[in-house]
């Protein structure tokens, strides 16, 4: 068929079987449906230009052009369906893959992404993002958290406490995301929870992006004196984004409880069978 679906009693995710990409998320419990296209892109890192010698580096994010390149416009996919989980494995390239999972009884999609080693043979530093594109009318606004507690409203090319003369249309609209970022049209809300601190933004209406990995070739002259260029096991990164589609009224309860569970996640301890009784005496 033209589409591939994974679902449980709460959530349904639909994929375009031609491209292998996510194309819609539905919340059946609240009767919400949102076309969502998600993929990976990379910004070409600036090494300095005629406007400014400032290069992208450990302390500085400065893409050389506004528009990021797509890692791939399609993904090779594997579909796995069992009673406890339904998942789509997406292979975008040799250095970028993802599994989109839906567990029985869960109200969120889990996107486990694996990125790296980022190729730099073309002598271009790359800053990789995961981007969600929707038709939501978000009026140039989005929301990010501050250390997992206060949620701050962010607005395009704007600062609440001073008149901003925006010189970096991309980086100047990026903000720290410690646990979550979301967009809303006043009726429904798309929230993405992170399992670590990342940079995030919404650079056009209905769009939301998070930076997952970077590999840069020059130093940014801010004191580190070496480029952000992992050569060891740190050149590959695996992480998770938890995606919630819910009504605005219901969203806060959902993402606050889920974020707590993400930060204070259950810990597993294994033991081979066979134990001896033990008591403190």
């Amino acid at each position: 068929s033209r589409v591939i679906v994974i679902e449980n009693k709460y959530i349904r995710a639909t994929f375009d079987s031609g491209t292998g990409l996510l194309m819609k998320i539905e919340n059946m419990e609240q009767n919400l449906s949102l076309p969502v296209s998600q993929g990976f892109f990379w910004y070409n890192a600036s090494a300095g230009d005629e406007e400014s010698s400032q290069a992208s580096g450990a302390y500085i994010f400065r893409p050389s052009v506004r528009k990021p390149m797509a890692v791939s416009h399609w993904a090779q996919i594997n579909l796995v369906k069992t009673t406890l989980v339904q998942e789509v494995y997406q292979n975008f390239s040799a250095w970028c893959s993802q599994v989109i999972r839906l567990y029985e009884g869960q109200r969120h999609l889990e996107l486990e992404w694996t990125v790296g080693p980022i190729p730099v043979k073309d002598d271009w530093g790359k800053e990789v993002i995961s981007r969600f594109d929707t038709p939501m009318k978000t009026k140039g606004q989005f929301f990010t958290d501050s250390n997992g507690r206060e949620i701050l409203k962010r607005r395009d090319d704007y600062r609440p406490t001073w008149t901003l003369n925006q010189t970096e249309p991309v980086a100047g609209n990026y903000y720290p995301v410690n646990t979550r970022i979301y967009i809303t049209d006043g009726h429904m809300q798309l929230t993405v929870l992170t399992d670590r601190s990342q940079g995030g933004s919404s650079l056009k209406d209905g769009s939301l992006e998070l930076m997952v990995h970077r590999r840069l070739l020059v130093d940014d002259e801010r004191g580190v004196m070496e480029p952000l260029l992992e050569t060891n096991t740190g050149d590959k990164v695996r992480g998770r984004h938890l995606v919630l589609l819910s009504s605005v009224s219901d969203a806060a309860a959902r993402h606050r409880l889920l974020a707590e569970q993400e930060v204070l996640a259950p810990q597993l301890v294994l033991a081979l069978g066979g134990s001896s009784p033990y008591n403190s005496q």
Binding site: A58, Y59, Q76, N78, V80, T82, T83, L84, V85, E87, Y89, N91, S97, V99, Y103, E104, G105, Q106, T114, S197, V224, M225, E226, L228, E230, T231, N232, G234, R238, E260, Q261, L264, A265, P266, Q267, L268, V269, L270, A271, L272, G273, G274, S275, S276, P277, Y278, N279, S280
Partner: protein, 172 residues
């Protein structure tokens, strides 16, 4: 005896913005990772002692630090093992346990020794270097508490016996 101080020390050092955002020189970043890893060991002893005390069962507990890349020798090599899930939240949580295993059929029992549903999922080779099997089962863990599940692999001859039983008598 266990000790959480080394990990606390490491976490204190890693409050530095370079540690949070990974923007330090390579050797500094490597040292941050070394301090964290060195802090884990004594903490694992502490957790093992606590679990032994609380469960009145002394076991040789093991912690799989590379579960996120599907590496866990105990679950991959053993036919019978226990999985203790600890919940640090002040409320009960339901958690889908996912462990790499060798190919086969598994029985999972909950803390009341009741069999619960479980699946073995094959991870496509494109996603991991060789074919991988992962065992999934739902765990329910009390607030600030733990639950212990027992996992048994159905050995292959049992497996065939099981197949015989379930094979339809009349030829199709």
């Amino acid at each position: 005896s266990g000790d959480s101080a080394p990990l606390k020390e490491a976490m204190a050092v890693l409050q530095h913005h370079d540690a949070v955002s990974g923007t330090a020189r390579q050797n500094v970043v490597n040292d941050y990772a070394r301090q964290l890893a060195a802090g884990w060991g004594p903490c694992e002893v502490l957790v093992s002692n606590a679990l032994a005390q609380l469960s009145n069962n002394k076991q040789n507990f093991s912690f799989c630090r590379e579960l996120n890349i599907s590496i866990c020798p105990v679950s991959q090599m053993s036919e019978h093992f226990l999985v203790t899930v600890y919940n640090p939240l002040g409320r009960k949580v339901d958690h889908m346990v996912r462990l790499p295993v060798s190919e086969g059929l598994f029985f999972v029992k909950d803390p009341n020794d009741k069999s619960i549903s479980s699946n073995v999922v094959m991870v496509p080779s494109a996603y991991s270097k060789m074919y991988q099997w992962e065992l999934l089962f739902p765990a329910s863990v009390p607030a600030l508490g733990f639950s212990t599940y027992s996992v048994n692999q159905v050995s292959s001859h049992n497996h065939q016996a099981r197949n015989q039983l379930t094979r339809p008598r009349k030829p199709k």
